[in-house]
């Protein structure tokens, strides 16, 4: 039988330490919805999403009530949309609008997969699709977009990197009235994964089954609290405490995931073992690092503490779930993490330190606000640096930056809700334009040659 201590530990995790299942994401294959025209394809996609995901919110709410674990978001991810729009280049936004309608109809807060995978090359229809992203993000509320520009296997498509710098700028301009909010829904990846449940980068890969449930767990507050209770632990004990805590958090996610897939008649995909922060106090990854012994996140030692945290989360989580996938690690989105916001505000956390941190955790330069006058080439260069880290280290990296129109270093931008608020962070001054404009591909690294 369970001990009282164990039961109240779980209650405390939920009540005081913000334990939650961050998202239940249903991946849906839309390949069978491809038609000749934009209108027919959009309608077929709409119908399929509305039918497959009809009960996702209802089931999520019921599970939350029965198990007493908050399930914060219910979401949908779809087949990369560039594969659906090949027949009607130039009219891609017809699909985007209909996807937004479908998301609203089933009641999910985001739908991911307005995406293209161009790591090795870009077809004409993919270029046309990518060109449609700024408009698609401006005319929709819930559609999220991602583009994969590199991989360890194929290298980095510098042409795509250059284009994405432009697309990020155009998206910011097109959504100027909301401080470039469109960019918060746009991720540029290297080594994108096909089963990621988290937004804005979720899409449903072509190697996936027809209808899949992927679950992202969370709980930075729980880890923080566990460390707080052991102020004198040495660093190996810290790793052990994190492992044990991650195990418990993930087991809760595993239970919800298997039950959700059963009730929704979908395949159980993966549990993503992630520590995903929210902007509220007590739910911060940065505060875990500070609890380990940093005065402020971003100072020297941050990368080492984060490496330990990320690794311990994976080790604890991997035994707790039958299927692990997605991004699985600690997230460090600046605007969505109370401690990160503080670190950036007081200047201790810089873009360069963030870049180093991304080498040891998932995912990348995430939800970082930069000056509105940052050039497209500089944004491309930030993307190139991140992609290089991902490519060489065989890991997923991403860039989600918001060049906030008409704002500069020292200003703040508010996105609200889970997306939080962020100080505008400085970028390097010198130009990388010549490098970006060279075009071509950065060859895959030597260690990609494993066959």
């Amino acid at each position: 039988m369970l001990s009282n201590k164990e039961i109240f530990e779980t209650i405390d995790m939920v009540e005081k330490e913000h334990l939650d299942v961050r998202t239940i994401t249903m991946g849906i294959s839309l390949i069978p919805c491809i038609r000749e025209s934009a209108k027919d394809t959009a309608q077929a996609c709409y119908d399929r999403i509305c039918s497959y995901a009809e009960n996702i919110v209802k089931v999520g709410d019921a599970l939350e009530k029965e198990y007493g674990i908050p399930i914060v978001n219910k979401r949908v991810s779809i087949t990369p949309a560039s594969l659906l729009t090949a027949n009607f280049s130039g009219q891609e936004t017809v699909l985007a609008k209909k996807l937004d309608d479908a998301a609203k109809n089933v009641g999910v807060d985001f739908l991911g997969g307005y995406s293209a995978l161009v790591q090795k090359g870009m077809t004409a229809y993919e270029r046309s699709f990518i060109e449609s992203i700024p408009e698609a993000l401006a005319i929709t509320d819930r559609v999220c977009s991602s583009v994969n520009v590199g991989s360890s296997k194929s290298g980095i498509n510098l042409d795509a990197v250059a284009l994405m710098g432009e697309i990020v700028k155009r998206t910011a301009k097109r959504t100027e009235a909301t401080d470039g909010f469109g960019c918060a829904k746009l991720v540029v990846f290297c080594n994108a994964v096909e089963d990621n449940p988290f937004m804005a980068g979720a899409f449903h890969g072509v190697g996936e089954a027809e209808k899949v449930i992927n679950v992202g767990v969370s709980g930075p507050g729980v880890v923080h609290y566990a460390l707080k209770n052991n102020p004198d632990a040495d660093i190996s004990q810290i790793a052990e405490i994190i492992k044990k805590t991650a195990f418990k958090i993930t087991r809760a996610g595993q239970l919800i995931a298997s039950e959700a897939s059963r009730r929704l008649n979908a395949e159980f995909g993966i549990v993503d073992l992630s520590l995903a922060p929210t902007p509220v106090m007590g739910d911060s990854v940065a505060h875990i690092l500070e609890e380990i012994g940093l005065e402020r996140v971003g100072t020297h030692g941050t990368t080492a503490c984060l490496a330990l945290l990320n690794d311990a989360v994976k080790k604890g989580g991997v035994m707790a779930s039958s299927k692990v996938g997605g991004l699985s690690g600690a997230f460090i989105p600046v605007s969505e993490d109370y401690g990160m916001i503080e670190g950036a505000r007081c200047g201790e956390l810089t873009l360069n330190k963030l870049e180093a941190m991304t080498a040891v955790c998932s995912v990348g330069i995430d939800m970082v606000a930069i000056p509105g006058d940052t050039s497209a080439e500089t944004i491309s260069a930030i993307i190139a640096d991140e992609a290089a880290i991902g490519m060489i280290n065989n890991k997923t990296t991403a860039v989600r930056v918001i060049p906030v129109p008409n704002k500069g270093v020292g200003d703040f931008v508010e996105f609200g809700g889970l997306l939080g608020r962020a100080p505008i962070m400085a970028v390097q001054k010198a130009s990388a334009a010549k490098f970006i404009r060279r075009g071509g591909k950065i060859p895959a690294p030597i260690h990609s040659n494993k066959n």
Partner: protein
């Protein structure tokens, strides 16, 4: 289906009576009960069986939540599987 009911709050007469009364009204059987004062707080833990109950777990959760608000304590009811998953291998 087995569920765990937890009650946390300031101690006062009648907490157990109100909770167990509500459970009895809906044919929820109490299999085990323990109560203690932890750091000044009244805490009670019940193992309940909903096999013969007219209520779903979700509906019971709503009723207990309302009762908790009325008598000024926090009441949760959760499927026992969540605790087993998190604490037992």
């Amino acid at each position: 289906m087995k569920a765990v009911v937890t009650v946390i709050g300031k101690d006062k007469p009648g907490i157990i009576a109100s909770v167990s009364g509500l459970l009895a009204e809906h044919s929820v059987n109490i299999e085990d009960i323990s109560q203690t004062i932890m750091s000044g707080n009244f805490t009670m833990l019940m193992y309940a069986d909903l096999k013969n109950s007219d209520l779903s777990l979700a509906a019971l959760a709503d009723l207990l939540n309302d009762l908790g608000k009325r008598i000024g304590v926090s009441i949760h009811v959760q499927h026992e599987d969540i605790f087993n998953a998190m604490h037992k291998i």
